[in-house]
Structure formats: structure tokens, C-alpha cells
Symmetry: C2
Subunit: 158 residues, 2 copies
């Protein structure tokens, strides 16, 4: 999984902390955690394409959440950044070469693809059951001053 | 996930079908499903390092299972091929830049890393609960002639 997943998840929480009325430029979000701005921008654009953020151009523009964190799941963000494809992609090698059997024997899904798909479903279910608002709450328990610090830093930056 | 996972899983089932007394060279296993032999050999070596296969050198050498399929899980094979690392690797970006808080606030695991780890655990649990013998049984229901065809083909090849 790309490091962009961690960046995108933190950025969504940071956007919630920065407040619903403020659009935050990618460069500011990147500077807050010392990340490469161009690469973070790529992740933020992916979140915008997935409808999780909106992007406003211009000098006072930036990124903003389109909905509250309790309506964004970890799965939403992972799918936006990593794409919707399954991690295990069955190439149906069972049908290749002298080992390939009669066509009729492939009517049912390969047992390997089926089992790998079930495991991936369990992973997706966990991610889909967890909202970013739960993450935000836990983060605020650990670092109660974080939202206020971020807002003050953004004010200062202008 | 690399395509080597699919190859390694099928190869283990093929080795079970070829019988416990026969060592099968990587090139033969590769030819059965028309796979690139050098790259399959790399996966088989990884399975050997993980103790799932043994490799015997020499003209009558090859790969062999070290234990019955009901004692090899999907997780064993995936870990052997992909390595034991988690797919989501937390880089602790929360501690970086002006966004980093006081050191004490990082005593607890980041809520994002924790949630991502839980999902990955669900995935691993599914893979660990499924043995290759279940895969073999399902494959034989779909293609009852497969084990016999493989053995005949190996005999012919000498």
C-alpha cells in the first residue's frame, strides 16, 4: 500500500480540524506534517475525484471536506487513493498450458481466487465499518490541543 | 500483491497431486501452466526458505512439499512470497513538521495505524483459517481429472 494512504487519512482529519469554512491549500497541509507538497497534492486530487474533498482554485482556494467525517469511512479513503481493484488479481493460470482442463471445468470460480477474495472482503468490511470521525476522536484523546494548534498555525500563515 | 502468490498456491496443489515421492523441477511446474520458469523458481525458492517445500539438487532433483496440504494455510504461502510486513506501514507522519505535538502524546499508537492494522488482521485471520487442502478438494470437484492428468504428463516427460 502506498504511503499516500496514511497522508490522505491524516489530511482529512486535519481538514476537519481546520474547520468547515476554510479551504486549505495542498502546500499548507503538506507543510503541517513536512510532506512533499506535489505528491500530497496528487493524493488530495484523488480524494477530490472520489467526492470526499472539493478543490477551489485561486489565491484563497484550497481543499475542503464535502461531508462530515462520520460519513467518510477508511474504505472510502483507501479506495480513492489505491483504486478499487482487488490486491489479489487472479490471472486464471489454471487454464494455461498443458495443465488447462476442459472449458466446462472453469464454470465455477477458481478455489484460490475465491478464498483470496473472501479474505479481502474481510479487510474491506473492517475498513468500511470505521469512520474518520472515530479516528478524529481517538486522535483528540491522545493530543487534545491538536485542533487548536492547527487552526492557530493556519491563521498565522494567513 | 504479486502474481507470484497465485503461482505459488497452484504450485503447492500441483506438488500434492504429483505425489509425495516425486521431486518436480521448477521448469516442469512452470511448463504445466505456461509460466516463466525463472520467475516461478524464485517463488518456489521463497516457499523452500519458509519451510513449505524442500529443494533437491541434481538431475532427478526438484521441489517437494514438506508436509501435507492440510497443514499449509493460505497465510503461510502469502507470507512466504510477499514477506511478513504489513501492507499498511505507518511512517508516523503525525510526529513530523509543525503538526508534531509533545512527545508524550505519542505514547499510544496512532489511531490510523491501529485501525489499518485491525483490518489487516481480519485479512490474515481469513487466510490463516483456510488450508490448501480445502483448495485442493474444491479444485478436484471442479476438475476431477486434474491430478491424474498431471501425473501422466510428468511420467511422459520422464
Amino acid at each position: 500500500m502506498s504511503e499516500g494512504v496514511e497522508w490522505a487519512l491524516h489530511s482529512c482529519v486535519n481538514l476537519a480540524w481546520s474547520g468547515p469554512d476554510r479551504a486549505v491549500p495542498a502546500a499548507r497541509l503538506a507543510a503541517w506534517h513536512d510532506l512533499p507538497p506535489a505528491y500530497l497534492n496528487k493524493q488530495l486530487q484523488a480524494l477530490a475525484r472520489a467526492g470526499i474533498l472539493t478543490s477551489t482554485p485561486g489565491p484563497r482556494g484550497g481543499f475542503r471536506l464535502t461531508r462530515p467525517l462520520d460519513r467518510i469511512t477508511l474504505m472510502d479513503v483507501v479506495a480513492a487513493v489505491e483504486g478499487p481493484e482487488e490486491a489479489f488479481r487472479c490471472a486464471e493460470i489454471r487454464q494455461q498450458g498443458p495443465g488447462g482442463g476442459p472449458a466446462a471445468s472453469y464454470a465455477a470460480e477458481c478455489a484460490i481466487a475465491h478464498a483470496m477474495g473472501r479474505a479481502e472482503l474481510a479487510w474491506r468490511r473492517e475498513l468500511a465499518a470505521r469512520t474518520l470521525d472515530e479516528i478524529r476522536q481517538q486522535a483528540e484523546q491522545q493530543a487534545p490541543g491538536a485542533p487548536e494548534r492547527l487552526r492557530a498555525w493556519l491563521e498565522e500563515a494567513g
